[in-house]
């Protein structure tokens, strides 16, 4: 019988290397990233990563690229890119989350182009030396729902003219280019939405009203709010051209990321757990044996619950790799992670006590970070609604 939920030895080794990188190389800069509210300027950290592509980007690699990639990484081609992506995301943020977004393919903007862009666009924007990119989707009235997008793109000869407002956009001022979603037909709802590429010169023309939102966590990512007033860009900047089916593919990128995003949350929680376990171990003699047993039972339970979510994410990725509909399972994993991860980090904070909530440790930072994962890619309610809708379609029994 073929069922297996484990990776091969080679993948296990790569996971461990990545975990060590995150713990030993990334974590030392975590506090600095949080305090300065910007990625630390330490390119050697990124270079030291055993992965040269962010796992989240695996799925958009062409088959031959994926084979190359796996070869470089010395793992087996034992499963599809989505499964590998989940396996590799799990160790990635255990040290801290700040670094992996700097990896190639770390943001969905490249995914958009890889998936629905013309060959020329892929060639121009997604090859060559890696640069930081960004994506502008959210508006005042539109979060998860693309149909709410009000920023417009109007064709004028060889150019597009963009007008509107975007809020809470990550990495706007740090990126080399950005993918921006706007509608070419406001009457058409989500079907009218297209993605556009804007470079640094275009970004310089934005009317930036806030360059850095104050937020609770993931402070190393800066979020900007800006307005577009008659921004003109060349016609070939529309990803895939105006006839490309914009919204479906765009949403596909997000459904892929849901599974990975869920595992991002478990990764943070796992890092927290590891930290706290070590902290307790170092003080083991200060606890009564009964209490220590209880605490260790708690740890085991928390690890186990995290394993559950990873398995849901793996199932979704596996279905995706087989070309089957994975949306329901992806939402499942995403729906449960934030609340779960939050409760785990909170439990860790409590176990370490008052000291745990102080800035001497990173637990308080992770507690703030984890809060952000819920809002990203659709909060819990949206995910549960999706699961419910899919159950309904998927045939209720008698």
């Amino acid at each position: 019988m073929a069922i297996s939920l484990k990776p091969s030895q080679k993948t296990v080794e790569l996971v461990e290397l990545t975990r060590r990188w995150s713990l030993d190389v990334v974590r030392p800069y975590a506090r600095e990233a949080d305090t300065n509210e910007i990625y630390p300027d330490v390119p050697e950290v990124i270079e030291a990563c055993p992965l040269d592509v962010a796992p989240v980007g695996f799925a958009t690699l062409r088959d031959d690229e994926y084979v190359d990639r796996a070869h470089t990484l010395k793992t087996d081609i034992e499963f599809g890119p989505n499964v590998l992506s989940v396996f590799m995301t799990e160790p990635l943020s255990q040290g801290d989350s700040w670094a992996w977004q700097m990896l190639h393919g770390g943001t969905v903007s490249e995914d958009f182009i890889n998936l629905i862009g013309t060959p020329e666009q892929v060639e121009k924007w997604c090859t060559g030396e890696h640069v930081l990119t960004a994506i502008a989707m959210t508006e005042d009235q539109s979060g998860t729902d693309l149909a709410g997008i009000q920023t417009t793109a109007v064709r004028d000869g060889d150019e597009w003219v963009l007008n509107g407002k975007k809020v809470f956009i990550s990495n706007l001022l740090e990126c080399e280019w950005i993918v921006l979603l706007a509608t070419i037909d406001p009457e058409a709802g989500s079907a009218g939405v297209r993605a556009f590429i804007l470079d640094r010169d275009d970004i310089a023309k934005f009317d930036v009203t806030t360059d850095k939102e104050d937020k609770i966590g993931f402070r190393f990512i800066r979020n900007a709010t800006f307005e577009l007033h008659d921004i003109r860009i060349p016609f070939d900047r529309c990803v895939g051209g105006p006839e490309a089916p914009g919204v479906a593919a765009a949403l596909g990128v997000f459904s892929k990321n849901r599974a990975t995003c869920a595992v991002w949350g478990t990764s943070i929680a796992r890092g927290c757990l590891g930290f706290t376990e070590q902290w307790i171990d170092e003080r083991a003699e200060e606890y009564s044996p009964a209490r220590l047993t209880r605490i260790r039972a708690d740890f085991a339970e928390m690890h186990d619950t995290l394993d559950d979510v990873v398995r849901l994410a793996l199932k979704s990725a596996w279905l995706k790799d087989r070309g089957e509909n994975a949306a329901a399972t992806a939402c499942e994993a995403k729906a449960v992670t934030p609340k779960l991860a939050e409760s785990i980090v909170l439990r860790c904070l409590q176990l370490v006590g008052a000291e745990g909530a102080s800035e001497r440790h990173l637990l308080e930072k992770w507690y703030r970070d984890i809060k952000m994962t819920d809002a990203m890619l659709g909060p819990g309610q949206v995910q549960r609604r999706s699961v419910a809708q899919m159950l309904l379609r998927g045939g209720a029994g008698r």
């Binding site: 009964a290 047993t293 209880r294 039972a297």
Partner: protein, 398 residues
């Protein structure tokens, strides 16, 4: 000064009631379940209670204080809660024997003086049983969907339709049945009718429904097949003044909704009984456990005890507010949303702790687990309570 305790007088009342309930009510629990009816000598048993009980001579926790009941500084509503909890602490069968139903009370609420004389007073003075017919197969919570028809034909009303979950329906001297004179208007055109036993067209489809629990409570399925009743059997009928009372009689029932905290107390009573039985059994078995398991069990017992206390406080708070004349929709629904669901978990957990013996017919836990389920359903399901809470919060906000 804030005080969440009962007065010493009411505590004494509570204790006497509890002791009697365990000694006299509980021994008949298993048989009442198996036989699907209360013990034959139920009247004798109830009469043996050392403290006075209210017996449905007035709506539960009525504003007008029944004369034969003692007064407590805590108020009649609080005494009502104690009665609900303690009777069910013995077993749920006794509740159904507290007076013969509520239909005569509905007559007094909705009927004329004349009707009260005919159908209410004889029951109060001479005893008797009255049945309540509201729920239909197609609706429970949403009374606007009422389908039982009442059609005026000369000097009679003709009833047509089906009712389920009619308390005392089959054995009652008369039932009060709700029907609509205009299906398009549903509840807005609803009227209440007294249908006496033996009226042609009044059928008992099932005398006592087959249920998961609560088997000793007679709940009947009734049919009205062109059942003809005199005009004066419509509650609110005034001789000479033709037609209906203007409909909306269902709305007038809302006073019965004040029962929610009482249902909460019933659940607490049952769960406390299960918990106490469990603690008793465990007291003899404690030596069997390894320490790490025993401490986990101890934790659970403490948590269950605390949860029941929390439920008690919620029920008391809701009734206290009502006693003060304060609106308590939110608090009453919160108490009802919390208590039965929690009680169910308590009993389930107790069975798990006791192992398969805990779910065997040697103990009453398995019966109580079956009985409890309905408490989260009738008088407004847990879902409906949450809707009410949500709506009340929205009202407060806006």
């Amino acid at each position: 000064m804030v005080n969440l305790e009962l007065s010493p007088e009411l505590r004494r009342y509570e204790r006497e009631l509890r002791e009697w309930s365990v000694e006299m009510v509980r021994p008949h629990a298993r048989k009442a379940d198996t036989d699907h009816e209360p013990p034959a000598n139920w009247k004798e048993i109830i009469d043996s209670c050392p403290v006075p009980l209210s017996k449905n001579t007035a709506p539960a926790g009525a504003a007008d204080h029944p004369e034969d009941l003692p007064t407590f500084p805590d108020g009649e509503l609080m005494r009502g809660l104690v009665q609900y909890e303690m009777l069910n602490y013995g077993d749920i069968w006794a509740m159904h024997c507290m007076g013969g139903g509520i239909a005569h009370i509905v007559v007094r609420m909705l009927g004329t003086e004349e009707q009260s004389k005919r159908w209410y007073e004889p029951i109060i003075s001479g005893g008797g049983t009255t049945g309540f017919a509201l729920t239909e197969p197609q609706f429970g919570s949403d009374t606007s969907m009422i389908q039982t028809r009442a059609v005026r034909d000369g000097d009679t009303w003709v009833l047509k339709g089906q009712k389920i979950f009619c308390s005392h329906g089959a054995s009652a001297d008369f039932v009060v049945a709700f029907a609509t004179t205009d299906p398009a208007r549903g509840a807005a055109a609803s009227e209440a009718f007294v249908v006496e036993r033996g009226t042609p067209g009044f059928e008992i489809i099932r005398a006592n429904e087959d249920k998961l629990g609560l088997r000793s409570w007679e709940t009947s399925q009734l049919g009205f097949d062109d059942c003809r009743i005199p005009l004066e059997n419509r509650l609110g009928y005034v001789p000479g003044a033709d037609g209906t009372a203007g409909g909306g009689r269902l709305g007038a029932l809302s006073v019965l909704n004040n029962n929610r905290p009482n249902v909460g107390s019933m659940a607490i009573g049952i769960a406390q009984a299960a918990l106490d039985v469990t603690v008793e059994v465990l007291a003899e078995q404690r030596h069997g456990y390894r320490p790490h398991r025993w401490s986990a069990i101890q934790d659970d017992l403490d948590a269950m005890s605390a949860a029941l206390e929390r439920g008690r406080r919620m029920c008391r708070r809701a009734q206290w507010m009502r006693g003060q004349g304060l609106p308590n929709r939110l608090e009453a629904s919160a108490a009802k949303a919390f208590s039965p669901g929690t009680a169910e978990r308590v009993v389930r957990r107790c069975m798990q702790i006791l192992g398969p013996d805990g779910a065997s017919t040697d103990l009453l836990l398995e019966k109580w687990y079956r009985d409890l389920k309905i408490l989260d359903i009738f008088e407004g399901t847990g879902q409906v309570q949450r809707m009410v809470v949500g709506k009340e919060l929205a009202k407060q906000a806006g």
